[in-house]
Symmetry: C2
Subunit: 96 residues, 2 copies
């Protein structure tokens, strides 16, 4: 299933900058950065639990916001993209 | 249907700041700002066309990125939120 992870990390203090980098780093291990704080991740339910726990351990519940959207398996028709930052389809073969 | 609108506007030049404000203003007319550049909008297909055209006319295709995710009608089970920025459910009655 394709899961969309979006987050807002409060970077007003030095800790915030650190949390922001850690959150992005955790997401990069599981999917594609399609916008600054938006990731698309092809995950099993178990993987979703793992990445969610990692993110919840990094973020500050009082200052940051994390939203997770489950687009299911039939996601290709649900997504439209315009402008820069071309993305790849997570299920297509990566040919170098 | 619930539509998620996410965007990245390049604000390196003065025009970018203006575009960013205009994009946010256009989205606010149609839905709820759940994160800095993430909006949840309850839209009919016709309304989606209208807001999409407005946004495409504002943004710079070479510099900005717009992503639209259609979460359908059965969206409540698809969304998880953690942390700050509490949101309201778009279909619940607004009681003041």
């Amino acid at each position: 299933m394709l899961v969309l992870i979006t987050y807002d990390v409060n970077t007003q203090d030095a800790q915030g900058g650190k949390r922001l980098r850690k959150v992005a780093k955790a997401c990069v291990n599981y999917g594609q950065r399609v916008q600054n704080s938006v990731f698309e991740c092809l995950l099993s339910p178990a993987e979703l639990c793992i990445v969610k726990n990692q993110l919840l351990n990094i973020m500050d519940n009082q200052k940051d916001s994390l939203r997770i959207y489950n687009l299911g398996n039939n996601y290709k028709t649900r997504i439209e993209h315009y402008g820069t930052k071309q993305t790849y389809s997570p299920e297509d073969p990566m040919i170098y």
